[in-house]
């Protein structure tokens, strides 16, 4: 619980800053050379990745307050810190609004004459799209302030009133969360193909967001344990995180397959085109890889009881899940550029720039507040958690 003095005041990693600088060059170059469409597709991809990671982490925090979980109190600070990624996600998203006239057919002036899009033109138009995005960001900030800000303040005040406040706020946040993740999924991702629609799409994106938040939480727990900063967190806590990870790989594939099967069965041209594109040419291989990496591999990697407690195994699966989430969002967004999957230096530059940025942000966030919520009256009970 007492912070390791060695871990403080570490010099900012020159390697990360170098990666960000190099990536920034590539990002700017890609706009000039590879064209605005490719640039904005990459930008939207990374906005969605950062946003879902932050929102997924915030969902974990809210879920723990909602069900009054005690076991998770010692590790709760880590998703709280990861949720602060929502702060840089806001400017990235606001810049990303520039993608609307380029990538989103519903926001172009031609939409008014399109037989299907004309009816949705107001909803998909740039002004209303921006308003919805701003509302989503504002709701996220409220959640962040109440759940994360309140918890950080509790470190000093040790006031148990926060727990009651958070428990009352958590159900309201669940409604907010459902609204925000659905808006972002419908607007930013399925808005790329506005003639296609799926009711379950928000839930599908939620499953991926929750998994990416969980995987990042597992990695931060293992990272801080490696620095001896989470004294008292044991295999029992890891087991619960691993069990969540395991369960939600199944949930993701359940939702993903349910959406696919119904559309495949009904075979309506306007619905099934979404999968027709993704099952043709090189995209077919990516679709199969996604099923293997996002479901089959992690499912069998985590199926035994021992695997969920094994730090080595958990670390590998957590990296795998983050990678699979990137692939998942790539699979959702990039077909907008055409029948061939694009992957070369612009994508690598964006990855370098944003991954470097995310890691720098998380490094900073990992120094915020105590490593455990020391003001939480249930911390002791959480530390004594045994399976």
């Amino acid at each position: 619980m007492i912070r390791n003095p060695m871990s403080q005041n570490k010099p900012a990693s020159p390697l990360l800053w170098g990666a960000v600088a190099l990536g920034a060059l590539g990002v700017l170059g890609s706009y000039a050379i590879a064209g605005p469409e490719r640039f904005w597709a990459n930008w939207v991809l990374w906005f969605v990745l950062i946003f879902t990671l932050g929102l997924g982490s915030l969902f974990i925090v809210a879920l723990e307050h909602l069900v009054n979980a005690k076991w998770s109190v010692p590790v709760r600070r880590l998703p709280e810190r990861l949720a602060t990624l929502l702060i840089p996600a806001i400017p990235i998203g606001l810049i990303g609004l520039g993608a609307l006239p380029v990538l989103y057919p519903g926001a172009r002036p031609e939409a008014a004459h399109h037989p299907i899009l004309a009816g949705k033109a107001f909803w998909l138009s740039l002004p209303f799209f921006s308003v919805r995005t701003l509302i989503a960001f504002a709701l996220c900030l409220i959640g962040l302030a109440v759940l994360v800000g309140g918890s950080m303040k509790q470190d000093a005040t040790k006031d148990p009133a926060f727990n009651f406040r958070a428990r009352r706020f958590a159900p309201a946040f669940m409604a907010i969360f459902a609204l925000v993740i659905t808006l972002v999924a419908f607007d930013w991702i399925s808005g790329l193909t506005p003639e296609w629609y799926s009711d379950i799409f928000g839930v599908y994106v939620f499953a991926g967001a929750f998994l990416s938040g969980l995987a990042a939480t597992v990695l931060s727990v293992l990272y801080l344990q490696g620095q001896d900063r989470l004294e008292g967190v044991r295999a029992d806590h890891l087991y619960n995180l691993g069990a969540f990870l395991f369960a939600f790989t199944v949930f993701w594939s359940y939702i993903g397959f349910a959406q696919y099967m119904l559309m495949w069965y009904a075979n309506f041209p306007d619905e099934v085109i979404y999968y027709k594109v993704r099952l043709a040419g090189s995209w077919r291989a990516i679709t199969i890889a996604l099923a293997a990496l996002h479901f089959i591999l992690p499912f069998f990697a985590l199926v035994t009881r021992e695997a969920k407690k094994d730090p080595k195994r958990l670390r590998r699966v957590a990296y795998l899940m983050l990678g699979a989430h990137v692939l998942d969002m790539y699979w959702l967004i990039f077909p907008v550029l055409g029948a061939k999957p694009h992957f070369s230096w612009p994508e690598l530059s964006f990855a370098l720039f944003f991954l470097g940025g995310i890691l720098l942000w998380i490094r900073g966030a990992m120094q915020k507040g105590e490593d455990m919520p020391v003001g939480d009256p249930f911390l002791r009970e959480g530390l004594e958690f045994r399976l």
Binding site: F257, Y260, M261, W264, Y265, N267, V303, T304, R305, R386
Partner: protein
């Protein structure tokens, strides 16, 4: 049952021991004392060590050295087996045994099999988990575990902690076991005799089971009877009964014009109902019989002729049918030279459009049947006017 004090253990020869004992049970006052005693008792290696406590104690599994339950592996194997079974069933039914095109999909569409595979996997897995746990691992049916009839059981279910050394073989030494428990700090030691009869399939058990089944039948029968009697119209969902239905030749509110039967869409033809030959009989000369002269075609033609033509034209086509005598009509004699000279198309035209008093047969004979009848009429004509070479063919 014997509750042994320290004195009786030191003088075992004075105590009449039961022939076989199930276990020796030691009682402890605190969980800590129990946990401390476990390693000592296990080292003595006298039998299986088992703990009986009022609530789960953390670290007990490791202290007792319990093996990992094989249940997880069993469930995994049976789950996979269930999924494969469901896949095999569906594949066999829909792709091999009775392939029907459903929704325009290929017969072996794995996507459609997945929900059933999932359900059967869950079914196999849960049954394996439940029944495997109860019958395979916990050895049901096993009524009256000896510990349940011990004196210590009231304490064990309240505030005391039992540790038992259970007999593994005939060579179990209950005295040594009791001694070991005492030395490990048990405040009280009790020897549990083995059950004196097989706990399984006693007449008592059989009677109780049959009685239970009978009682369940009676109770559920009465409940069912009363439910149907008191709530006869309790239909939770009857959309399938209430859906709009079309009856032939009846008015219906389903379509705007109130007709149950609708005209076909303009410019379309129902499958198998191509329009029949039109125009004059002379124009029909150009039509060619599309059917080959095979045994099957003649059989179809013979049956159709018998059903639709024979009453007037007669069995051999000479215009003397059973109806002609009754009504005095004069149907065509198909054996006449005029009709023997007819090309196939003109006979076909007459079947479709009718001629003189003969009505059209188009509604009653399909395209195939009409052309088969043409072949059959030709055969009738040939049979009545056979040439010499026909006879040669018949007697090779």
């Amino acid at each position: 049952m014997h509750s042994l004090t320290m004195e009786t253990i030191t003088m075992p020869e004075t105590t009449p021991m039961p022939a076989r004992s199930f276990a020796v049970l030691g009682l402890f006052d605190t969980p800590n004392a129990l946990m401390k005693a476990i390693p000592q008792v296990r080292v003595a290696n006298l039998g299986t060590v088992e703990a009986y406590t009022p609530y789960p104690i953390h670290g007990m599994d490791e202290a007792l050295g319990l093996r990992r339950s094989p249940l997880g592996g069993m469930v995994l194997v049976m789950g996979i087996l269930g999924a494969l079974t469901a896949f095999g069933f569906q594949y066999w039914i829909s792709a091999i045994d009775y392939p029907i095109v459903t929704g325009g999909k290929p017969p072996s569409s794995w996507e459609a099999f997945i929900p059933i595979m999932f359900e059967v996997m869950v079914l196999f897995a849960t049954f394996t988990a439940g029944l495997g746990m109860l019958f395979l691992l916990n050895k049901l049916p096993f009524f009256g575990h000896p510990v349940l009839s011990s004196k210590a059981i009231t304490g064990i279910t309240r505030d005391r902690y039992g540790l038992a050394i259970e007999a593994e073989s005939e060579a179990f030494d209950s005295t040594a076991a009791a001694q070991a428990l005492k030395e490990a700090g048990a405040v009280e030691v009790e020897i549990l005799p083995a059950p004196d009869r097989s706990p399984f399939l006693t007449s008592d058990f059989i009677l109780r089971t049959l009685g239970g089944i009978f009682a369940a039948c009676v109770v559920s029968g009465i409940v069912m009877f009363l439910t149907i009697k008191w709530f006869p119209l309790l239909a939770p969902m009857k959309y399938m009964q209430d859906q709009p239905r079309l009856d032939a030749q009846r008015a219906s509110a389903f379509f705007k014009d109130g007709h149950g039967m609708q005209m076909p869409v303009a410019g379309t033809v129902a499958r198998g109902y191509l329009p029949t030959a039109t125009g004059t009989q002379e124009a029909a000369v150009a039509l060619v019989n599309p059917l080959p002269r095979t045994r099957e075609v003649f059989a179809v033609g013979r049956k159709a002729y018998a059903n639709r033509c024979e009453v007037c034209h007669g069995a051999i086509g000479n215009g003397v049918g059973s109806l002609t005598a009754a009504y005095g009509g004069k149907p065509a004699n198909l054996q006449a030279q005029q009709f023997r000279d007819y090309p196939d198309g003109k006979i076909y035209w007459a079947i479709v459009n009718g001629k003189n008093a003969m009505p059209s047969q188009a509604a009653d004979l399909t395209e195939t049947q009409r052309w088969s009848v043409v072949h059959y009429v030709r055969a009738l004509q040939r049979a009545q006017n056979a040439k010499d070479e026909d006879l040669k063919v018949a007697t090779p």
